[in-house]
């Protein structure tokens, strides 16, 4: 493919990605990127230039983000300013949400790990009980243990015995893996979201 064709292809994709902008702004940006690419092609450095600009979509996004922030802070109404602030805050919100959700799963994992350990150390206090009437489920280590029940109350039934060690350890690993996956997911989400320029 010739340099000229590659430049035209790039500019066409860039113009498409900039379609949300007014025509004059779009033409101005495309003209400048054209001058840049043609100049670099003249130096025999078109490949490096295209690589450095990034994909047309990414290149367009950087222009749009710079513009959004500038519009918001320069002459935007409350909605625009709020939107820009939200975009800025969203990184922090994503981090907070990620931290919270991952923490819940890591705590669940820790709880199950503790239960497995308790079943080994003090088998009488740990168990998986089901209330005979209520159907309530109690998993973990309890002091005093639910069995024997206080007089006059139906005794819950322990259904796992020593298998609880395996079950609780399995659940601990499962919740840990989910927590780990979620924290990675949130971090990827944050990295993908480009931070807008607000200076």
């Amino acid at each position: 493919m010739s340099d000229a064709t590659r430049i035209e292809d790039y500019l066409r994709a860039l113009s498409r990605a900039l379609r949300s902008l007014p025509e004059r702004d779009r033409d101005d940006i495309v003209a400048e990127i054209r001058a840049h690419l043609e100049h670099r092609a003249g130096e025999g450095r078109l490949d490096a230039a295209i690589k450095s600009l990034g994909s047309p979509e990414n290149c367009a996004r950087t222009f749009i983000e710079e513009m959004k922030i500038q519009t918001a802070f320069a002459d935007g109404g409350p909605a625009k300013t709020f939107g820009a602030l939200l975009a800025l805050a969203s990184r922090r919100a994503t981090a907070t949400a990620g931290l919270f959700v991952s923490l819940v799963f890591f705590l669940l994992a820790a709880g199950f790990a503790f239960t497995a350990l308790a079943e080994i150390v003090t088998p009488d206090l740990a168990g998986f009980w089901i209330g005979p009437e209520s159907g309530n489920i109690m998993i973990g280590a309890f002091e005093p243990p639910p069995v024997p029940a206080p007089p006059g109350e139906p005794a819950p039934r322990e259904i796992m015995g020593r298998w609880l060690i395996l079950f609780a350890a399995g659940m601990a690993v499962l919740f840990f893996v989910i927590g780990q996956w979620l924290s990675r997911f949130f971090i990827r989400l944050m990295i993908r979201r480009k931070s807008p320029t607000a200076i």
Binding site: A35, H36, A49, L53, G54, A74, F106
Partner: protein
């Protein structure tokens, strides 16, 4: 918990670095234009051996575009004498020169104070 924290440091440094560079890049561009009008290519070439500033082909044009909208710089399409490719040449406006003056003094104070706290690597 540990797993989450393990990812934190590198991520924060990258975010911090990009925030740090954004303000610096603007100052660098204004300061370069103060020494004479240049095209985007001219600015990139002047910054080619200063990678720490963090301005690439992909980030300089959006920055120039914003500075022009803010009225700090003015762009003018010029065709070289004797033909050839036209280029948009940017120069500092009066507003840009004033912004540069206050940014420069803010930067000097900031640099001195920060260096006093952080220290320079020996």
């Amino acid at each position: 918990m540990q797993v989450y924290l393990q990812y934190q440091p590198t991520m924060d440094v990258e975010t911090w670095k990009s925030q740090l560079r954004k303000g610096a890049a603007e100052l660098a561009v204004l300061a370069l234009l103060d020494t004479g009008a240049r095209s985007g290519i001219g600015l990139l070439d002047a910054l080619a051996d200063r990678p720490a500033i963090g301005l690439s082909d992909g980030s300089i044009y959006p920055l120039l575009n914003r500075l022009e909208r803010e009225g700090r710089i003015a762009g003018q399409w010029e065709t070289p004498k004797g033909g050839g490719r036209g280029q948009k040449i940017y120069s500092l406006t009066a507003e840009g020169a004033a912004a540069l003056r206050s940014m420069r003094s803010a930067w000097t104070g900031f640099r001195n104070d920060l260096t006093a706290i952080v220290g320079e690597r020996r």
